[in-house]
Amino acid sequence: MELLLFILPVFFALSVLIVPKKGVRAYGIIGSLAVLGVVIACMMQYSNDGTVHLFADKKDWLSGITLSFGYDGISLLMLLLTAVLVPLVLVSNFKNELAENRLFTSMVFFMQLGLIGVFISMDGLWFYVFWEITLIPIFLISWWFGAPERKAALMKFFIYTFVGSLAMLAALIGIKVNAASFYIEDLKAVVFTSKAACWLALGFFLAFAIKIPIFPFHTWQPDTYTKSPMAGTMLLSGIMLKMALYGMIRWMIPLFPEAMACIQYPIIVLATIGVVYAAVIAIKQKDMKRVFAFASMSHVGLIAAAIMTWDFDALSGSMVQIINHGLVAVGLFLAVEIIERRTATRNLADLGGFAKQAPKFAFWFAVLAFASVSVPLTSGFIGEFLMLKGLVQFDMIIGIIAGTTLILGAVYTFRAYQLSMYGPVTRDQFADLHWSELIVLAIIVIAVVILGIYPAAITDFVNPSLKIVLETVSTPSGL
């Protein structure tokens, strides 16, 4: 049954190419719901007791590569996020011509295949392979369907991320030569001197820092987000950068606990700089999509900093925030897209007054904006609270600086909301939500509010697995 996690995306990615044009929309949504069904079934069977291994066979498959796949609570949560967001992305594209395109739908499924692979790989090289597989579909989606002046930005994106991944490959080879195989437990068993561990951990960090992105490796991000089609931006910010956060929890820190002493502080500082830096830039943006691009960078920088504190509460807060950010980012980019569809511009100076013409849209967008600035009773609140608590415990000053994100976040989010929704009416007409847009916004908002009231739904699920990860690293044998 777990094999379906691989088979279904490949099957739909290939079969959608021969579906008649009219059926592509429905076919894509059905396919993504089928994957969601499989993931939910996996979650039902999972009983919170460590790692489920998919193939029992751990023997050497090709030059140290083993066929080890499996999942624990953390992986399952990421799988669920992927499986939920893909149908949402497809539904939110329902009104676009894009959704009719077979290649687009096919690429989304290939992307999903790569993401699923990343989240269930228990073998270093498979992790790398799937990590790279995700890059090609997202690049092609943005290349084919993006804004006219996309080319330079996308080349930069591809080369940037590819070079980062090569650093990770170098680090992987560097551990492998000392380990029996690429199986994660074998890799963890290798003990390094702290200097060697630092260099190897930096290889991983480069790949993750570029993907997340952490200041100063972020220069590809705003342009790529802005020039990609909306679906591409959603996939990038909603799920793809979560791969890097997941990679930090699953691979970077457990593999190199020796390196924690030398990389922990610099990474947290860089991530915190990113939090404030991106938030300040977001305040000054004219392009609405750019505002949320920088907002995404700011939020994710906080998650990265919280993960690096390697504190239990902060980690479980970051899991909540990963889910929250995935949902909210997709919602916010959809809101931008809704405005762009109707007015053909994203320039904040040309917008205004839509709240009167489209009250339903104004309501849902407002709730999303609240969730984005972590108002209590939305899932963002509990996540950011736990993460900031961890950061303050780690270092008071860093915690306070990172805490400004709450204020700055409110400034840029509500500035964008106010300039677009309130003010004098600028358009003769502004149609209210289409049903497909309404469904996506409503699902996201309801999920965010439910998780805000009852975050234990997430934390109870991942905490046992987080505890295991945390313990293996902090026990003497790990250190």
């Binding site: 090289l125 890059l135 290349w143 591809f158 590819f162 070079v163 090569l166 170098a170 080879i173």
Partner: protein, 459 residues
């Protein structure tokens, strides 16, 4: 030995079949011969017994690795004849010569994999090279093709001369041509004789020339660019396989011990670094497709040479080499098929634009081949490269890091071609029709690029 004879005989047969002036007859007899050779090799690999046991010659020994590399040579020659058929049949009077020469060249390549004696190696090298000098100039109406032929001939024969010169020094130092005896003689030496060292360096220079690594690479862009695409594909895949394996056999087995290894290793490391950077940096600004491929193949030579300094056991290093060359050969077949089908007289990269509309299948093959050349998972090119790098890491980690940096540089120009294929054309262009033979070959190449690394462990 059986496969060698079969390939040679079918080369002769296709020469005679040319009298009928029917290209399909020539091509099918050549392909039938190669298929038979492949089957014979596989049977011999399985059973360990040759069909004609009595046909043995001490200068040639078809051991397991010689057979594996001969298999790669036969498979890739078969694929290249398959994609080149469209071009070969344009000129029915000369099809026989081209195919015949290609088959003889493949024979030479097989001799180069199986030699145990410097003399046989030299024969194999000449049998391999001379047909290619002719084939490179086979497009007589094109000045560039003639230039390629002349250039390749002049520089190639010069390199052969250097090889013979080096061989003379080695003979002077050891007094024998046989690989095993040379090896024993070198082991017996207390101190390395300078005569031997000069000889080894000269032989290495000629090899470096043959595989087209810097600083002896200057012929390769012009020759790759000027030669007809199928010949370029043949040079990039089959010739490289033979030259690399011969190189590995001679240097890992014969000159690969102790001080002598350290002596040529230093020179080779410098050459690897130059090769990687020269190949990559020159490729960045190319506008012509086959010229880009030439520089990309120079870079791949650089990656492959990592194996020579990796100090891995010959048993493993030849396996890795086999895998790498096979994966690389499949990608070359795919990309050459694109070049043949697009058939732009100027050979510009921009001419690839709109390929997705003109023929989606060809576009997919092209993109996958480029991804495989760039070493992006899940293509075989990635796994092959990974295995090479991890083999070299232990002895030369910093060299692997340089190679990885170069992979990062190379992604730029591969990406340039990929996006050209994925972009729409400026004006409407006619659709490209592929013959069933080409499609069959491309399906094999595609399966090789995507599935080879997954099937390999099962073998």
């Amino acid at each position: 030995m059986d496969a060698l004879l079969i390939v040679f005989a079918s080369g002769l047969i296709s020469l005679f079949a040319a009298f009928a002036k029917k290209p399909w007859l020539v091509v099918s007899s050549a392909m039938a011969g190669l298929l038979a050779a492949i089957i014979v090799i596989i049977v011999q690999l399985q059973t360990g017994k040759a069909f004609f046991d009595f046909l043995t010659y001490e200068g040639l020994s078809f051991d397991q690795f010689a057979l594996l590399f001969s298999l790669a040579i036969c498979v890739l020659s078969l694929l290249i004849i398959g994609i080149g058929y469209e071009r070969f049949k344009e000129n029915p009077t000369h099809t026989g010569e081209y195919i015949g020469l290609l088959m003889f060249s493949a024979t030479g390549a097989m001799i180069m994999t199986a030699y145990t004696d410097m003399f046989m190696f030299f024969l194999g090298l000449e049998i391999l090279s001379i047909p290619i000098y002719v084939m490179a100039g086979s497009n007589k109406a094109d000045v560039r093709s003639s230039e390629a032929s002349l250039k390749y001939f002049l520089t190639g024969s010069f390199a052969t001369g250097i090889f013979l010169f080096g061989l003379a020094w080695v003979y002077g130092a050891t007094g024998t041509f046989k690989l095993q005896e040379i090896q024993m003689k070198i082991e017996e030496m207390d101190t390395l004789s300078p005569i031997l060292m000069i000889g080894v360096l000269l032989i290495m220079a000629s090899f470096i020339f043959k595989i087209g690594a810097a600083p002896f690479h200057f012929w390769s862009p012009d020759v790759y660019d000027g030669a007809p695409p199928a010949v370029t594909g043949f040079m990039a895949s089959v010739v490289k396989i033979a030259a690399f394996y011969a190189f590995l056999k001679m240097f890992a087995l014969c000159f690969g011990q102790g001080e002598l290894f350290l002596f040529w290793k230093g020179a080779l490391v410098v050459m690897i670094i130059i090769t990687l950077f020269v190949g990559n940096l020159s490729a960045l600004r190319q506008v012509r497709f086959k010229r880009l491929l030439a520089y990309s193949s120079i870079t791949h030579v650089g990656y492959t040479l990592l194996l020579f300094v990796s100090q891995v056991d010959f048993f493993f290093s030849s396996q890795y080499l086999w895998f790498y060359m096979f994966a690389y050969g499949f990608s070359i077949v795919g990309i050459i098929a694109v070049a043949i089908a697009v058939n732009d007289s100027e050979d510009r990269i921009d001419a690839l634009r709109g390929l997705g509309k003109r023929n989606p299948f060809l576009a997919i093959v092209g993109i996958v081949s480029l991804l495989s050349l760039a070493g992006i998972p899940p293509t075989s090119g990635f796994f092959a490269k990974y295995i090479l790098f991890s083999a070299a890491w232990k002895s030369a980690a910093w060299l692997v890091i340089i190679a990885l940096i170069n992979s990062g540089i190379s992604i730029y120009y591969y990406l340039k071609v990929i996006v050209a294929i994925a972009s729409p054309a400026d004006q409407e262009q006619e659709k490209i029709k592929l013959s069933p033979l080409t499609i069959a070959v491309l399906v094999i190449a595609l399966a090789g690029m995507l599935g080879f690394s997954f099937v390999l462990p099962l073998l």
